[in-house]
């Protein structure tokens, strides 16, 4: 039994089919990458799994129980958290205030551990809108990791980061997930980063699953090469 499983997930906006029959299963300590060209439905997928968007059909299971219709709050309390592609922090608060705010609700005992792992120590007393963009991305990620969630859904944590920051961020994600036994879904634009970081990869194209497997299998898949990777692979 998987920790977190989505079966035949479909999301339609009127006539537009954003997702069609997508399946995914997350396991503890495994980083599961989702890649795909623009418009493949990656962000919709995270929204659907995190409860932000309603499913047209399909269901989501967590720990063997159906949670398809559970609220965002319920999911967070049960141990499913997410980060945002468009940085979603509390701009006017200091970094420490907002981390404490989230930690308070989610009974985090080891905030220092997260702060150290993401190297946020030096900026803890700065107002969030004044810290560097890359650091704000780390704050966004930190808020998703607080409270020992069992599943984290990461929506492009490297969006807008320069290459070195991006490498660092993915390193953090992988280490934290392995250490804490978290089942992670990593939606990412940076294909090289995903191949480097993830244990399993699902490739989406036009709302459907194109291919699924280990990085090596995906890299060799003809359909993926044709649709997405092109000559770069």
């Amino acid at each position: 039994m998987s920790l977190f499983r989505a079966t035949s997930v479909s999301v339609r906006y009127g006539q537009l089919r954003a997702l069609e029959n997508v399946d995914i299963a997350l396991e503890p300590g495994v980083v599961h990458g989702v890649i795909g060209p623009n418009g493949a439905g990656k962000s919709t997928f995270v929204d659907a799994l995190s409860g932000r968007t309603r499913l047209t059909s399909g269901n989501v299971e967590f720990d063997g129980a159906d949670i398809t219709h559970r609220s965002v709050r319920w999911r967070r309390k049960a141990g499913i958290s997410r980060s945002f592609q468009k940085t979603s922090v509390f701009n006017s608060m200091t970094v420490s205030q907002q981390l404490e705010l989230v930690a308070h609700r989610n009974h985090e005992r080891d905030l220092d551990g997260i702060v150290d792992a993401l190297s946020l120590g030096p900026v803890m007393d700065r107002v969030c809108s004044e810290v560097a963009y890359g650091t704000q991305r780390s704050v966004d990620l930190a808020m998703a990791l607080i409270g020992n969630p069992r599943v984290v859904l990461l929506d492009e944590p490297c969006a807008g980061l320069v290459h070195d920051e991006s490498v660092n961020m993915l390193q953090h994600v992988r280490d934290l997930c392995r250490e804490r036994g978290v089942g992670a879904l990593l939606v990412e634009h940076d294909v090289d980063g995903v191949f480097r970081t993830c244990d399993v990869i699902t490739v989406l194209n036009l709302g459907t699953v194109l291919c699924h497997g280990t990085p090596d299998e995906v890299r060799k898949d003809d359909a993926v090469i044709k649709a997405y990777l092109g000559s770069a692979a």
């Binding site: 995190s50 967070r76 404490e100 705010l101």
Partner: protein
């Protein structure tokens, strides 16, 4: 939670991260210090009648004091929910009406009447809050405006005349009973009434201060700033907003009950939108970003109104003065003073001011 020494800010990235305990909101020590300041302010204010020693000016000061409840209640919601309510008259005026109706028609004692007015109006704020706090921005303003005007319209109906007196209003009837040792003539006398009103005003301001700095205040701030992230962090984003709305209604209700006692008479103007405008302009002129902004703003506003009224062109001058303040002191009068003093402080100490 335990009391902790403030963490020292270090700019050296190599310095070890100090171990952090969760300390959301103000510490018990901060609450105690605030209480001492409040008690000192309350006692000091009791000297005002003997210093001013003039019935006309005491009347103006009492009017400012009563308006302060309304502007504080508007200011609390503006600061912590980012919402402007145009309907606080429903709670201020509603409570004043209940005091007058309960003491006259129902012949209740002033204590019963005041308790009923405050509790009843706060309950009304709860019912209205359930309907309106989900709205944001303009929607919230329109809903609160509609609510306030609805109460006004009900009160002026001819069929309600037996209870509300319609356009004639209602007079309180305390007879020879007393409220906290004050008879009717004492309650009407601004030099006597000031003491009661001032102590209650300071107490309410202190409560607002604690609420704003407490864990509750931090949660409100988070919700105001990023509601979605709060939900995804496991927070209920409805109940804290509702609680803030009800608390704000309670503050207006306390002021309204005092108004009823002091004036001994209520008329529909008290429920009118113009009255709500007084509270809002006073709050904005004083400054919405700081707790004391609406507090000071109310006194300034009443003083200015008295001066402008003498000239015979009340609304023209009120408008001009409001525009001047908003253009040249966008943070309000108290807000600007507090920003300037913080800047002065940081340039003297060479440290960045804490946000």
């Amino acid at each position: 939670m335990t009391v902790e020494a403030p963490l020292l800010l270090s700019d050296d990235p190599l310095a070890p991260t100090p171990s952090r305990r969760l300390k959301l909101g103000i510490s018990p020590r901060g609450v105690a210090i605030g209480a001492v300041v409040a008690v000192v302010a309350a006692v000091a204010g009791l000297a005002v009648p003997s210093i001013v020693n003039d019935l006309y000016w005491m009347g103006i000061l009492v009017n400012g004091l009563l308006l302060a409840f309304m502007s504080l209640s508007v200011g609390f919601m503006a600061k912590h929910l980012g919402l402007i309510s145009l309907g606080q008259t429903a709670f201020f005026g509603g409570s004043a009406y209940l005091v007058c109706i309960a003491t006259s028609s129902w012949e209740w004692s002033p204590y019963q009447a005041v308790a009923f007015a405050i509790l009843g109006t706060t309950a009304m704020a709860l019912a209205m809050g359930v309907l309106v706090v989900r709205a944001t921005g303009i929607g919230f303003m329109m809903l609160t405006l509609a609510m306030g005007q609805a109460i006004y319209q009900v009160v002026i109906q001819e069929w309600a005349r037996d209870t509300t007196g319609s356009f004639d209003g209602v007079a309180a009837n305390i007879g020879d009973q007393t409220f906290l040792g004050m008879g009717v003539s004492d309650l009407l006398d601004p030099t006597v009434f000031w003491n009661l009103g001032w102590i209650v005003l300071v107490a309410v301001t202190y409560l607002l201060w604690v609420a704003g700095r407490s864990r509750f205040g931090v949660i409100l701030e988070g919700t105001r700033e990023n509601t979605e992230r709060m939900r995804f962090s496991g927070y209920n984003t409805f109940l804290p907003r509702l609680a803030a709305f009800v608390f704000s209604g309670f503050v207006a209700a306390v002021g309204g009950a005092l108004y009823g006692l002091n004036s001994g008479y209520v008329s529909p103007e008290l429920l009118n939108f113009l009255k709500a405008g007084d509270g809002i302009i006073a709050a904005i002129v004083g400054g919405l970003g700081v707790l004391l902004g609406p507090f000071v703003g109310a006194f300034l506003y009443v003083y200015a109104q008295a001066e402008f009224n003498n000239s015979g062109n009340l609304y023209l001058y009120t408008g001009i003065a409001s525009v001047l303040v908003l253009v040249f002191l966008p943070g309000g009068i108290v807000g600007t003073i507090s920003t300037l003093s913080r800047r002065l402080w940081s340039s003297r100490t060479g440290r960045k001011p804490q946000a």
